[in-house]
Amino acid sequence: MNSHVSDAVFRRGRLLLWGGFLALAFALPLAFKSGFLVSLLCQIGIMVVFALSYNMLLGQTGLLSFGHAVYYGMGAFITMHMLNIIGKDGSPLTTALLPLVGGLAGMLAGVVLGYVTTKKAGTTFAMISLGIGELVAACALMFPGFFGGEGGVSGNRVVGKGDLLGFTWGPQVEMYGLIVAWAFLATVAMFALTQTPLGRMANAVRDNPERAEFVGYDTQRVRYLMLILSGFFAGVAGSLTAINYEIVTSETLNAHTSGVVLLMTFVGGIGFFYGPIIGAILITVMQIVVGGMTHAWLLYFGLFFLFMVLMAPGGIASVIAIQRNLWMAGLFGRMVPHYLAVALPVLVLLAGLVGLIEMSYALLAGEGVGAGDTATKVMKMELHLNTPGPWLAAVGVTAVGMALTRWIGGRTRAAWNAALSTLHGDKA
């Protein structure tokens, strides 16, 4: 009965954690009265829901989907059309409830498309989801009446007259409140789902579909149900996007959007419930902050992603979890000097690489990309890219960084392995 006590404590801790996050989410825009921050937070809130819904498939059921944007996009389009239909006759209350409609739209899309895709798992599922995604994206261009063609569909989230307890959703801050409320509800619901028989059997199907069949479960049915539910939450996220930006284009349901949510979720960590939250926050911030600084942002993003796949396939959440385990075992202190030691050469290496990439971009990307001054701005130096000097410097820095990283990184790795084996030794 020991487990019961710890269970209760854990639950109280969890409540505190949830409450803390909610309070933080509401406090942030009040503390910094910045329009930019509010817009950023709105985007983060939406992406958190989207990424969590994606991880219901990838992390929890083991389904790698390349077409998740379909459900997100369906939620967005249906919401936008509903918004336009209710128009003048609506009320802020109906607007506030639209994400539910979007969610149902995503769910319906899941019912129809999931029937085809979830017949298979594994690689075949990945390919089929890609094909279905392309099919829907191609359809979007074929039916401009519904999908709005190139220009998309737009609307106005302030409908009818009057307000709901003083809210019209017009100002961005009010919109943010709506997003936080929905994101919070959706997150709680998705977490609760992981604690139900279906949620647990999804894990079982992910781990070992054959065994799941031999304890009485139809794996195809489990995958199908999870996809439908995941479609619902993706639809909620899409709906929030539609209300937030007041425009939906076919971009929302194409392969690019599907790719971004996959990257976010993976980078955050698919093995933990909170992983996608970290991923959504990090990638959205990077997208907007780094994206505002350099045109090469997508290139950095791609490199970062490949780095994560090769070095930390469990994502950021797993790195955090390992540090926490080290901390609990009293081994964390031992690793700190190693982390600090390896940080320096990595920074040197990064500086060299960034220099090379930025200079290449400035030189090669040519007109229309704002080339020419990008590199000089970022590095706060006036560089003459037609002379060998800066190139040699950048290559030199990169080479030195690489050599140092290899040298010191080797020691860090050894220390790391030693710490890990002590950790697992303790456990066994």
Binding site: K119, M142, F305
Partner: protein
């Protein structure tokens, strides 16, 4: 005429899907970045053609792509392999993303002027008032040549026999599996080189732009699913089938209403579906075919394996 065009396009698709199938059968990796190598082939060939002309590029560009592919296998995939199939798939996915960005970086975001060489510019023959360009004939020649070479390689050489064994008895080779990393590297390099060659001859026939990989990539996946995962014969049939569907449907301008009128059904006027022409439907036809196949014949046309 459409048939010839369809076969040309289908053969091009097969150059891509055969490499994809070989890699999948041997290594169990679905190479998401396969079409990126196709794109690299086109861009390399373009670059070489601006320096020393088209003909050297025809030979050099695929080789370069193959070397890049082998390097990717050696230094990237082999590492990702340790973390399982999902990591491998994600690695190739990230790679596709990266290749597109690098292409943006080096060659810009708009299409480059990769032209058909003057020697091949012109009409081969004219049939029913439509002309068949020499270059299409050249593409067919190269594709068929490559097909024959591939066939010879598979049936007459030792490596070919091992690859064939892998196609029919994947478990057997899995047992050998990790002892043959060099063959894996060769297959991956070879498969990507094939994709590169397709890029060299396809890039100037269609268009060489950063979006070309994404455009062709999903079609190639459809081909592989329709043909049956891991089946070279299936990939061949499906390539031709989809090549022809694509070219035929573009040439047809009858609308859905007309189609239904033939079978005696009148669709309500003004509905959007009714006004669509087959041409407008062209982009979705391959995907519809795929969905149909999945529902009625999940193994694919000639696939032997269930999943």
């Amino acid at each position: 005429m459409s048939l010839l065009n369809g076969i040309t396009y289908g053969l091009l698709l097969f150059m891509l899907s055969s490499g994809l199938t070989l890699i999948f059968s041997m290594m169990g990796i679905l190479n998401f970045a396969h079409a990126s190598f196709y794109m690299l082939g086109a861009y390399f060939a373009y670059q070489i053609s601006t320096w020393i002309g088209f003909w050297p590029g025809l030979l050099v560009a695929p080789l370069m792509v193959g070397v890049v592919g082998a390097a990717v296998e050696r230094y990237g995939l082999r590492r990702a392999h340790r973390f399982g199939h999902v990591a491998e798939l994600l690695f190739t996915f990230g790679l596709a993303f990266l290749v597109e960005e690098i292409v943006h970086l080096i060659w810009g975001k708009v299409a480059v002027d990769y032209r058909i060489p003057v020697e091949l510019d012109g009409t081969l023959f004219t049939l029913f008032d439509t002309s068949f360009p020499i270059y299409k004939g050249f593409m067919m020649l190269i594709s068929v040549g490559m097909l024959v070479a591939l066939y010879m390689l598979l049936t007459r050489t030792r490596i070919g026999l091992i690859i064939q064994a892998a196609l029919t008895k994947p478990d057997m080779v899995e047992a050998l599996g990790h002892n043959v990393p060099r063959i894996f590297m060769l297959v991956f390099g070879g498969g990507t080189a094939l994709a590169g060659l397709a890029g060299v001859i396809g890039g100037n026939a269609f268009v060489t732009e950063p979006g070309m990989a994404a455009a062709v990539g999903s079609i190639v996946f459809v081909v592989v699913v329709v043909g049956g995962l891991g089946s070279l014969g299936g990939a061949f049939v499906a390539s031709l089938l989809i090549g022809c569907i694509q070219t035929f449907s573009i040439a047809l301008t009858i609308s859905i209403t007309d189609v239904f009128a033939v079978i005696g059904v009148t669709l309500p006027e003004g509905s959007q579906v009714a006004r669509l022409t087959i041409t407008q439907l062209a982009p979705v036809l391959p995907y519809l075919l795929m969905v149909g196949i999945l529902i009625f014949r999940p193994r694919g046309l000639m696939g032997a394996r269930e999943s």
